[in-house]
Symmetry: C2
Subunit: 102 residues, 2 copies
DNA sequence: CACACATATGAGCATTGACACATATAGTTA
DNA sequence: TAACTATATGTGTCAATGCTCATATGTGTG
């Protein structure tokens, strides 16, 4: 297998993504979203976080393009625009699981 | 495709890993290592970081088990004990590349 | 042993980021 | 329009962390 060399720009971009995923509550929001679109109030209920905090994290995720808001009446539904991200998370989780088995 | 639900413990562990990868210089060290074992001085030269800083980050990575030290005389060689991590990084990089193409 | 080189570590500083509080905006309904 | 609900945002605080300086430890060599 040949592994690419990484330019520092690529590394920085990678790290930017990882930073977004590095905050447990923010990551939890992403994972809880899964493939469905949910209003903020649902996420608040599912995570047990304060509304302020959920909105705070959603803003970060939104600005990064990791979630997409869709207004429906008084509610704003958030969705993952790209399911592949979930697949990456899945693989990473699997990797961690195997590591622990040592 | 069915997506697992994530327990909060899993999420926290995932985020712990991402946090390690979220620091650009630390990630750069990992990427520069690739599949080879290299002494600290090499990493210092390759990254342009100070020796202190490289050692600082290597310690974090070492304590997390992401790199393994091997003393050879006066030098300490660092290696990735698990190549699959590189593959995950590779896939993530690819995902980012495709995203940008929109 | 003395000295030089390779690496590690502790202390202090500066920045960042998560969170809460209060408040603002947007939509709905009476 | 007024009152209510859903969501967003600005400000301040506190803790975490990256970085550097100075120094310690470890290893080979004269």
């Amino acid at each position: 297998m040949s592994i690419d060399t990484y330019s520092y720009d690529e590394v920085k971009e990678l790290s930017r993504l990882f930073k977004l995923l590095a905050e447990p509550n923010r990551l939890n929001i992403l994972c809880n979203l899964g493939m469905e679109c949910r209003p903020v109030s649902d996420i608040v209920a599912a995570t047990g976080l304060s509304q302020t905090n959920v909105s705070f994290h959603l803003r970060t995720l939104r600005e990064a393009g990791l979630v997409r808001p869709e207004r429906q009446g008084a509610f704003v539904y958030y969705c993952l625009p790209d399911v592949k991200l979930l697949s990456l998370l899945e693989q990473t989780k699997e990797w961690i699981r195997l590591r622990h088995k040592t």
